[in-house]
Subunit: 241 residues, 2 copies
DNA sequence: CGACGCATTGATCGCGCTCAAATGTCGTGG
DNA sequence: CCACGACATTTGAGCGCGATCAATGCGTCG
């Protein structure tokens, strides 16, 4: 995470994607596609690279492309005229961008660190989608899953306390279960605050509190270990996600 | 709204739906289906009736059915162990219920007032969906639209003030534009508060303030008129919805 | 070494919540 | 038609959580 891409075989933007050898295919919408279909998808896709902070797509602008993340992390967000921001989600390698769009994009997508994407022109992608039931079915599955997550976040934003929000966030980041591995935070405190509907100060104070209470261990700001997962789970009012 | 169903030709629950004459078809997922496909859909659907407060589907339970609302209003909500509630949305006639489900329902759906539904057994519906591209495409469209709305609501819940939330809510309810028609609120103050992430007191106070400021007119609690739509729109920090 | 950006910590403020009471609405039965 | 009770809504008083304002710490880069 916060992956510095090995700059050795620097991919030229615009080149056709190599789906067969793509490392994130299993996690992506292109998973399970018959080989022929995969090639048709590859034929309309190009590689796009973005640097840190670069805008991949902009809220309100015509939805010209769909994207699939092949490396790096992306922040999805909306903002109010006066600058207040809400991060609606973070996207990881394998995630699909553009589902939540009508004719115009519904959110802005900004690269956190360097990001590599598979770009699909909207019209050609939609045509192909209609021709490939497996693909459309997969997209529906992804959209349904996103909806479930969105509803869970409405509960968090509408009804949870600051402690509950931060605890929920940490648990969502944590690997599925059991593991007491290190969690790397690719995003800043500002991103986390805007994701949880809090301020950076409250996020920072809450993390400090969890550290004092020996629930987490955090030697550097963007790297932490869940020490007392059960305690956090209790605080988070963990639901059935 | 809060429609008292004319009890004259009381439909017997369980009977096969009459899609051809269905009044909400144009607004539903079954719109635009070729006639033959519509009949196949009708053949797996049954009519279900629910009384006020009745639970249509329950968060966390196995997702056995999908539903389409033919009349009445439905509250979609999630709750925390201690009873705090978040209404994730209100559903109207023509809306589809169950999209935001994995194997288990992601939210609870409760009837506000009497409700009539078209019920589709999950497995049979999914089989049919895979056979009818028009249907699956339509579902993907609905899911995408729901996602856009969900993200708008995250912005509201995470970043808007009480005044902005209530103003946004009123504008969302209002007919598309121009009209200064009467808005009927089928839901209670508690529902509105749980929808906006506020308390009933704050909702009530804010509505009273809008009335004092001559932005709305409200003679009875569940019926109001937008007097100053532009003012409300300014307050709502209206975005590109 | 200083400048910058990000995170942490402290002090204080205010929006929206909580607790409490009054008022309004509506259905029911005399 | 009115009296009554149950329940929803409105209004008031005071408080507390999280925001705001401000200062300090800390790591990175020129």
């Amino acid at each position: 995470m916060s992956v510095v891409i090995p700059v050795v075989p620097r991919i030229v933007a615009g080149r056709i994607a190599h789906c067969e050898s793509c490392g994130v295919r299993a996690r992506s919408v292109c998973a399970n596609l018959p080989e022929g279909d995969l090639m048709r998808l590859a034929s309309i896709s190009t590689v796009r690279q973005c640097g840190p902070g670069e805008v991949i797509m902009m809220e309100g602008e015509p939805a010209a492309s769909y994207h699939n993340i092949t490396s790096g992390f992306v922040r999805l967000h909306k903002s109010l005229p006066d600058g207040r921001e809400q991060v609606t989600g973070f996207a990881r390698p394998g995630d699909f961008l553009g589902l939540a769009s009508e004719d115009n994009y519904g959110v802005t997508a900004t690269a956190i660190g360097p990001v590599t994407l598979c770009r699909f022109p909207r019209d050609r992608f939609r045509t192909l989608m209609h021709a490939l039931p497996t693909l459309e079915d997969r997209l529906l599955g992804v959209a349904s899953h996103e909806l479930v997550i969105a509803q869970e976040r409405m509960l968090l934003l509408g009804r949870k306390t600051a402690r509950e929000r931060v605890a929920s966030f940490l648990l969502d980041l944590a690997p599925p279960c059991g593991e007491t591995g290190v969690i790397l935070l690719p995003m800043t405190r500002t991103d986390i605050a805007d994701y949880l509907g809090l301020t950076i100060e409250t996020v920072s104070r809450t993390l400090s509190a969890f550290r004092r209470e020996k629930r987490i261990d955090m030697k550097v700001p963007n790297q932490l270990v869940l020490v007392d997962r059960n305690g956090l789970s209790r605080i988070a009012q963990a639901s059935a996600l």
